[in-house]
Amino acid sequence: MIRTIKPKNARSKRALAKKEAKLVENTKTALFVPGATGNKLLHDAMCDLMALKKPEAKKFSKKNEIRPFEDASELEFFSEKNDTSLMVFSSHNKKRPNTLIFTRFFNHKVYDMIELSIQNNVKLLQDFKKLTFTIGLKPMFVFNGPAFDNHPVFQHLKSLFLDFYRGEETDLQDVAGLQHIIALSVGEIEDLNETKNLPLLHFRVYRLKTYKSGQKVPRVEIDEIGPRFDFKIGRRVTPAPEVEKDANQKPKQLEAKVKKNVSTDFMGDKVAQIHVGKQDLGKLQTRKMKGLKSKYDQDSDFDNESEDFMDEDIEYDAPQPKKQKV
């Protein structure tokens, strides 16, 4: 745990407020941490993955002697210190060459982790030498293959990459901002029970090109801009059920309120049912006449007639229950 002290000035107070848990969360930021055994390929791969994530990305330059699957406490420290909830850690050894470990954090504790080994078929951004996209734009995602819907490992990968690259959550999207596509593909899994030899995950990034089609929607062509990776899936850590439940909760305050008795009919008109309170006809104001005043009521026999005529010019106030001031 990092020691937190009471902020002494407005600037540090604002900085702490930014880190606090919120109903509508900040865009997740990513941290790229090189391991002690990294190599040039891993370094370049991390640079390219970071280029896609910019500007919500940070990169460490020093190597770190960490084994995330054995002890992730140091990564948790980095996550808390830098306020990041996504992390990529690189390591390379004989048994697991060229691996990137993608970790997600919840409340600065490890949420899930997956190890992806880069296979030979690599092409980096610098190898393509093509016009790329503007930084900070929301990418489009294409997931090819049924495994993303029904295989737990690939569901994890789908959730991970969506979470990693989707950027700012927004309800308005500029058409000109639709520039690049992240495509993840996985071949058919022959045996669903097999866990060792999963098919490779193909990571591709394309740029969108649109052509006239004679209709409203354009004809779409794509152009690969890189990076290109084929990932072999390695070890995996899944979230604990209670943590998963906490992390997937949606705040009740943000849920749209259901309006009662209001609906739209088949013409698109708003239809509502209105309930009017029952009218009390006893209190209905009729024509005002002196003789109808309640002091002249038959049953009020405590005041004699002579007095009645004397104070007829005094305005009469019906005794009303006094409203309590609130």
């Binding site: 949420y111 995602f141 294409v142 293959g145 999207q173 394309y206 089609s213 929607v217 997937n248």
Partner: protein, 201 residues
């Protein structure tokens, strides 16, 4: 591309229709990929990009059919010229993604808030920090620097309060008494604030 026959089609046929998460600009293609083509190095890239192209076409068709909002806000230009922007209104994302941090808990009510709720006391409407000072003929702050609550401090003649009459405080300067009272209230408030903070954590 002048002849209409030369245009390539914008529709894509799929055995199983795609699902979309338009809030995240994503599409999920449930049709299995051909493993033979994926293993063959010469065909692989072409095959992947052709499948992806079809899905992007479907995604773009879906995105462009969403409702559109046009704004005339100035954006990014220093010249201040208005330019219209066509923005697509995206629906809520449907894919459930984990939160970064837990949902913040509601603050525990302070002792006063508990009492007010019990008695049904509504919060006062805020009527600002300034009040009109009729003697000076200008607006002055209610408290703080040159505040209205310090009016008595610089008077040459101050009435002795009825409360302190016939007590040992009668001979003390009423200005210092007023000042001491203000300081006492500040201290009391700080104490209450501290207690509420302690109850919250």
């Amino acid at each position: 591309m002048s002849d209409e026959k030369e245009f390539k089609p914008v529709t894509v046929d799929k055995l199983i229709p795609n699902t979309f998460d338009l809030g995240n600009l994503a599409t999920f293609d449930p049709n299995p990929l051909d493993n033979v083509k994926l293993r063959d190095e010469s065909q692989k890239e072409q095959y992947l990009s052709s499948v992806t192209r079809d899905n992007v076409q479907l995604l773009i068709n879906q995105i462009l059919s969403l409702p559109v909002k046009t704004t005339t806000d100035t954006h990014g230009s220093s010249t201040g010229q208005n330019s219209t922007m066509t923005l697509i209104q995206l629906p809520e994302p449907t894919t459930q993604l984990p939160r970064e941090k837990a949902i913040p808990k509601a603050k525990a009510p302070t002792k006063w808030e508990q009492f007010a709720a019990r008695k049904g006391i509504k919060a006062k409407t805020k009527d600002g920090k300034m009040v009109y000072d009729e003697a000076k003929g200008e607006w002055v702050p209610k408290w703080g620097y040159k505040g209205k609550n310090k009016d008595l401090d610089d008077q040459w003649l101050v009435e002795v309060d009825d409360k302190v009459k016939n007590t040992e405080e009668e001979l003390i300067d009423p200005r210092t008494l007023g000042r001491a009272e203000r300081k006492r209230l500040i201290k009391k408030n700080e104490l209450q604030h501290k207690r509420n903070m302690k109850n919250q954590s």
